[in-house]
């Protein structure tokens, strides 16, 4: 070094150069390996999807070699385990699923949105600090626990209320309504927290603009914030409905085991997932057509949730673009 003794910059330069230089090749090689490993992990998630689709398609095709697709998709009778003649019309299962989902949606979607508006627009921060963790706890309760509630608390309550109101024993031991309400309680935190995220992502400026024009909180929430967050709210609704359709343990415990076409919430229904539980719990020999039918039902269920998720993804992507 030619630097003068009190040339501070030169001294620093010399100090920095004292370390043994690291090999660039080792570094770049390591970088490449890391990249490949990480990308491989990301690829794994694609593999999972491919496997799900492959397995469900393969088994469903094997099922449709025994039972016609037309009968499966148009039939209104589902009796694979009982009776002389096995019938594989999937509509009763789909209707049961939709009935439970409908009850859950009627309960949870408005309630969830109102709660979200309350949390994001009205609630003082101390109340938020209490309610948010409560919601998180609700979201973390395993669904089998909700199934317990549905079977042992909600359904008996509905039985009692129906008896007091109508004087008739409308509800049996199982009902689509009780399961639906429990599913509704289960999806409520999803609707609330995702809708609240959407509401809070509406820029503050819009609220200021609305207030400055003489809006009340209610005006602001209903006419500016909710319309502004509509995409996010819709996405949260779709996600919640997806969860409701795929919910298994609640309906397996509380909705009943009789596949029937009905819109009456006090009847028992069998949902698609509940049927799969019945089969996999060992009610059918693992080689029979009944066993294969559960894969066809699973394939249909997968398709339904896939479409809902894709729709939600689209809406959410467009919603995020709006405020970026």
């Amino acid at each position: 070094m030619t630097a003068a003794p009190h040339d501070a910059a030169g001294e620093l330069f010399e100090l920095a150069n004292r370390g043994r230089s690291r090999s660039r090749h080792v570094r770049d090689g390591g970088e490449a390996v890391v990249k490949v490993v990480l990308a491989g992990c990301a690829g794994f998630s694609v593999l999972i999807t491919a496997l799900i689709i492959g397995i469900l398609a393969y088994e469903a095709v094997r099922f449709f070699m025994d039972v016609s697709v037309v009968e499966f998709l148009t039939g209104t009778e589902w009796s694979p385990l009982l009776g002389e003649e096995k019938r594989f019309g999937v509509w009763p299962l789909v209707a049961g699923t939709l009935l439970v989902t409908l009850v859950a949606a009627i309960f949870a979607l408005p309630t969830g949105l109102v709660t979200a508006v309350f949390l994001s627009e009205y609630a003082p921060s101390w109340l938020r600090a209490i309610l948010k963790p409560v919601l998180e706890i609700l979201a973390g309760i395993p669904t089998v626990v909700y199934g317990f509630f549905a079977l042992l608390i909600i359904n008996p309550s509905l039985q009692w209320i129906a008896k007091v109101v109508t004087g008739e024993e409308l509800f049996g031991a199982y009902s689509a309504g009780a399961a639906g309400i429990a599913v509704g309680i289960m999806i409520l935190p999803i609707v609330t927290s995702l809708s609240e995220d959407a509401l809070r992502s509406v820029p503050r400026g819009l609220r200021d603009g609305a207030y400055a024009l003489g809006s009340t909180r209610f005006d602001t929430s209903v006419r500016v914030v909710i319309p502004g967050a509509l995409g996010g709210i819709m996405a949260s609704y779709l996600l919640a409905i997806t969860r409701a359709i795929g919910e298994t343990m609640i309906v397996a415990l509380a909705a009943g085991g009789l596949a029937q076409l009905t819109v009456l919430p006090w009847r028992q229904v069998q949902t698609m997932t509940a049927y799969m539980v019945q089969i996999f719990l060992g009610d059918a020999p693992a080689t029979g057509v009944e066993f294969k039918s559960s894969f066809a039902v699973a394939a249909l269920l997968f398709l339904m949730t896939l479409l809902l998720t894709l729709a939600g993804y689209r809406i959410l992507a467009r919603f995020r673009e709006e405020y970026e």
Binding site: S125, L206, A212, S215
Partner: protein, 301 residues
């Protein structure tokens, strides 16, 4: 309209609360000619004629939590004039503006003391309906904030809140508001398209149209041009000059040329205190205080 200012002519200098520190004196500027003429204000204002007071602040203090943002503000905002608030960042000028229509109510930690009168009524009083206040005192923000709705619905939003209109009345009101904001010709063919598709300058003029569509007396503008390019800024400034005789306008700005160009009166704030307030021309030529002179001549800020 309202009572004319009561104080004697000329600026009355009062000492700051703690004269020992001798840092900033609070100037209470009052009328120069206590003879307001309403007809004159309506039509052809002469600089000498003093209009009635619209908003009056007395011993006004404001806090965010423990932080005192404003100290003992004494200020008169004249009716149907443009008043500019200038001062370095954090001097409290925006805070004061946001008290004029109580936008600070939305900030939980914000509180105030003293009096703030709108035409002689204390607007800080809890009995004063804040919704009604904001209908009378409109606001335009730093960043254009059109609602994600159509241009028509943006303008119609406010009127619909407060009154029920027939379809044709509403259409006319929307058109006239857009005309007043000098944006009608640009948007008349696409009233049903989203307002988010407009340029920044157009959005800001839309926001001004939206604000005047509810028929306010006062327009508060919080740095309305700071997010805009020079051309849009010029358009907004033209608009402000156009509107000056129909509305009491208070504009917060960082841009001293802008204050000089558009305002009749200018108030200079520094560190939460009102240093002085006077005719714009006088503030920029012969200010009474060193701080003001240093600031307007660009020595700090």
């Amino acid at each position: 309209m309202t009572t004319p200012p009561t104080a004697a002519s000329g600026g009355v200098v009062t000492d700051s609360p703690r004269p020992a520190t001798n840092k900033v004196a609070v100037i209470e500027t009052m009328t120069t000619t206590p003879t307001p003429n309403q007809n004159q204000t309506q039509n052809q204002p002469t600089p000498a004629a003093e209009p009635p007071v619209c908003i009056q602040a007395r011993e006004f203090n404001s806090w965010y939590g423990d932080f005192q943002a404003l100290h003992g503000i004494e200020l008169d905002v004249p009716t149907n004039r443009v008043t500019a608030f200038i001062g370095p960042s954090g001097c409290g000028k925006s805070t004061l503006l946001r008290w004029f229509n109580r936008m600070n109510d939305t900030i939980p930690s914000a509180r105030a003391s003293g009096t703030l009168d709108l035409h002689g009524t204390d607007l800080l009083s809890t009995r004063y309906d804040v919704v009604d206040l904001r209908r009378r005192v409109g606001m335009v923000f730093q960043k254009p904030n059109p609602f994600p709705k159509s241009i028509f619905d943006n303008i119609a939003y406010g009127p619909r809140l407060h009154r029920r209109y027939t379809r044709s009345d509403l259409a006319e009101l929307v058109e006239q508001s857009l005309r007043r904001a000098a944006i009608w010709d640009e948007v008349k063919d696409r009233l049903n398209q989203s307002a988010l598709g407009l340029s920044g300058g157009q959005q800001q003029r839309l926001c001004i149209a939206r604000a005047i569509a509810v028929g306010p007396e006062v327009l508060l503008m919080d740095e309305p041009c700071s997010a805009l390019d020079p051309r849009s800024t010029a358009a907004i400034e033209d608009l402000i000059r156009d509107l000056r005789h129909q509305y009491t306008i208070v504009i917060v700005t960082h841009n001293m040329q802008q204050a000089a160009r558009v305002s009749d009166r200018t108030a200079f704030f520094y560190e939460g205190r009102l240093v002085e307030s006077d005719e714009t021309e006088r503030i920029f030529t012969t200010p009474a205080h060193r701080e003001t002179e240093d600031y307007v001549s660009g020595r700090f800020g």
